[in-house]
């Protein structure tokens, strides 16, 4: 089902084709670099390569950073709480997939 009168857009998969520095990730999430580094140090963002200042993050980090920042803001969770919530959310999503439900 596509609309005939629209051009077709071609995008790139973020995970495969792109990595981000902490600064770029911060800009994408509208957050300070310090917040991004906090998330990385808490283990909320997937392991990044390199020394702290040269960390590179993939698409998965972008997704998790956005969820983490939303939870921090909307539910006023602290970092440990956010980390726990995200781990549990992923576990629930995996279990739901096993049950054939929408993750």
């Amino acid at each position: 089902m596509i609309s005939r009168d629209l051009e077709v857009l071609i995008g790139s998969i973020v995970e495969c084709d792109t990595t981000y520095s902490a600064e770029e990730l911060g800009r994408l999430c509208a957050a300070d670099v310090a917040r991004i580094l906090e998330l990385a140090e808490e283990g909320i963002l997937p392991p990044a390569r390199g020394a702290v200042r040269e960390w590179r993050f993939g698409g998965e980090a972008l997704r998790r950073a956005r969820i983490a920042l939303r939870l921090q803001r909307d539910l006023e969770l602290n970092l440990a709480g956010v980390a726990l919530a995200i781990d549990l959310l992923e576990e629930i999503a995996a279990l739901r997939r096993r049950l054939g439900l929408e993750a």
Binding site: S12, I67, G100
Partner: protein, 309 residues
Amino acid sequence: MEFKDYYKIMGVARNATEAEIKQAYRKLARKYHPDVSKEKDAEARFKELGEAYEVLRNPEKRAAYDQLGTGHRAGEPFRPPPDWDAGFEFSGASDGGYSDFFEALFGRAARAGGRGRRGFAGGRGEDHHAKVLLDLEATLAGGTRAIGLRVPEVDAEGRLQVAERTLNVQIPKGILPGQTIRLAGQGTRVHGGEAGDLYVEVEFSPHRLYRIEGRDLLLELPVAPWEAALGATVQTPTPGGKVDLKIPAGSHAGTKLRLKGRGIPASPPGDLYVELAIALPPATSETAREAYRALATAAPFDPRAHLGG
């Protein structure tokens, strides 16, 4: 425009204290947060909740809202009286995305605050983020899908509006759940500046045959007891078409066979796991029942041996 009863939305009394309002917000926010909640209308409820909290937590807005009187019922047609908010000062900008009702009451303040940040010629437009639910076929074969998005847009007067927008997007073959497609230049357009990008996060709806686990797929394949016991070659569906699969003799329910590289065609490609399920032939004819009896005598078997006792 419909009247919104912010007290009712938050489930608090009109004379609730600030502490009670905060507590109610926390509780409902945990329940309806779109990242956490599985409630059907979580996103809409959370938005409504955020709007109600935005008004009731702020003493100036709350006082102005209370001023509207108690005679209104939720959902009834509503038009703010002229000069209804005279004497109230609103401070701070809202995030936007609020209802018409909110915009009519507090929108002027929100717009005044918003103008500084938005619509600034020569700057870079904001990036947008969206989530879409695709069918598994989209990643198996690639192809174009129409994606419906709700996009906040700033109109000529600087007002924030939510527009429905459809994009035809070519789905990269092999994209995995949780991955993001970046569409350059599809974010906010700004006059005289570079447009922002649109980031679309991909999830897949449950598939009729395959369970999706990252890049791997899992198929439950029913086999007859003799196929599992004696071994057999059976036809099985795979994303690339039907293949002949050799079932090793002595297989049992839950045996997993791996078809390397037959999962999602990412790089590296995922695998297809075929998990055997034993389907019993019905004993509806006398011959079938006789065969079951013969098997019981020929191969004595206690399926409950491992339970002990």
